[in-house]
């Protein structure tokens, strides 16, 4: 049998660990466990439609993840979606005519943002906005279009 103090300490640790696990699970299910690592800078991009793009979705350059979506909100004046991209500072030389499009990984996969750099000599700075964007392609709309086409002929 251990000393009373030893028992108290391990019981306390056990209960703290248990409550910590509950908090961890609740934080994860509420999406509060944000992780920010390394130096980064923020860019903005406006889209007509973001589909089911999620917070923390990857931002990819040539298919390789270089950042995360750090915010999605609607612009009340323009009626468009504003997406904030947090990008690794190693890639601070993206040209101003970089093209941002919402792509999806496979037919049922999650959405991500693909950046295609242009040829401009000027670079995007922190809090700049990417002007050239392409919205998410909604499969439902595509299907709808094809069905209508079929009835026209």
């Amino acid at each position: 049998m251990q000393s009373e103090r030893g028992i108290d300490i391990s019981v306390g640790l056990f209960i703290l660990l248990g409550l910590g696990s509950v908090i961890f699970l609740v934080m994860q299910t509420l999406g509060l466990g944000q992780v920010n690592s390394g130096d980064s800078y923020t860019l903005q991009a406006r889209f007509d439609h973001v589909g089911d793009l999620k917070l923390r979705a990857p931002v990819a350059l040539a298919g390789v993840t270089i950042g995360r979506v750090s915010g999605i909100r609607a612009d009340p004046l323009e009626f468009r979606a504003v997406v904030e991209l947090r990008i690794d500072s190693n890639f601070s030389n993206l040209p101003v005519d970089t093209y941002a499009s919402i792509a999806s990984k496979g037919l049922l996969g999650g959405k991500y943002i693909e950046l295609s750099p242009g040829g401009d000599e000027e670079f995007l700075q922190d809090h700049d906005e990417i002007e050239l964007t392409q919205s998410a392609i909604l499969i439902e709309n595509l299907i709808g279009k094809y069905m209508l086409k079929g009835t026209d002929e």
């Binding site: 696990s21 699970l25 509420l30 923390r56 999650g110």
Partner: protein, 260 residues
């Protein structure tokens, strides 16, 4: 033929009698519960021996169940190009189902049997009778602290199990199988709900905690006062608790799933 029917009838009536005795035992404990907080030292000692000492087993179990779950579900999800859902998939399975159930089964094997054999040995060596002779109520001194400690421990152990499982799935999914780390975490809040999933997981493990710890002390307290009786009490505790946990899990799941 007659003998077979009589055997069935005897077995059935013995089962009903044991079930009734268990209910009466549970109700006998109820009035002691509020008074138990006056002796917190007894409860912490029990939380130490049945909760804190189960920790290593539970963490190990959770980690490996999560890792296996990630491997298995990756295998299916990759066919549909939906490996981003790995995090949500494993988290939902762990939080709702595997965490409470497997943690409670491990608890029954690790702690329930220990409680049953400890109390059973107290009965066999006349310690319980001695307490009664000294006007110490054995239910208050021996039974109630163990029940309360079990009810406190099992939900915590289940939460630890689930959290370790999600971490294990993260390790395998993101660092071995190459799922995107951001997608792994970001899909979880989209598909796992706090009240329905985490809440129901906690409710389940609370119910399992009540039944597992009650069963352990009941079997021990009513064990036949000899060596065979003690070992029978430990075995019966594990078997009956496991059956009850699986049965109750089916009932609670059926009652709480919104689309059934």
């Amino acid at each position: 033929m007659n003998a077979a029917i009589r055997d069935c009838w005897l077995g059935f009536s013995r089962f009903v009698a044991a079930f009734g005795a268990f209910q009466i035992f549970s109700f006998r404990i109820l009035p002691y519960l509020p008074k138990a907080v006056l002796r917190p030292r007894l409860i912490t000692e029990q939380i130490y021996s049945i909760g804190a000492l189960s920790l290593v087993l539970i963490m190990f179990g959770g980690l490996f169940v999560g890792m296996v779950l990630a491997l298995q579900s990756y295998n299916t999800l990759v066919e549909f190009g939906t490996i981003d859902l790995l995090g949500a998939f494993t988290a939902e399975a762990l939080v709702r189902e595997l965490g409470p159930v497997v943690a409670a089964l491990l608890f029954a094997g690790r702690a329930g049997s220990a409680v049953a054999s400890e109390v059973g040995l107290m009965r066999a060596t006349d310690q319980i009778t001695a307490m009664e002779l000294m006007a110490v109520d054995p239910i208050r001194r021996v039974v109630v602290p163990r029940v309360i400690a079990g009810v406190i421990s099992v939900p915590l152990l289940a939460a630890i199990f689930s959290a370790m499982g999600v971490l294990g799935a993260y390790l395998v999914g993101v660092h071995v199988l190459g799922v995107d780390g951001g997608a792994f975490w970001s899909q979880i809040p989209e598909r796992v709900d706090m009240t329905t999933d985490v809440g129901i997981g906690l409710v389940k493990s609370f119910i399992f905690g009540v039944s597992a710890s009650l069963m352990g002390v009941f079997e021990g307290y009513n064990a036949a006062p000899n060596a065979a009786g003690v070992s029978r009490a430990a075995t019966r505790t594990v078997v009956i608790t496991s059956v009850w946990i699986l049965l109750l899990d089916f009932i609670v799941t059926g009652l709480t799933l919104p689309e059934v």
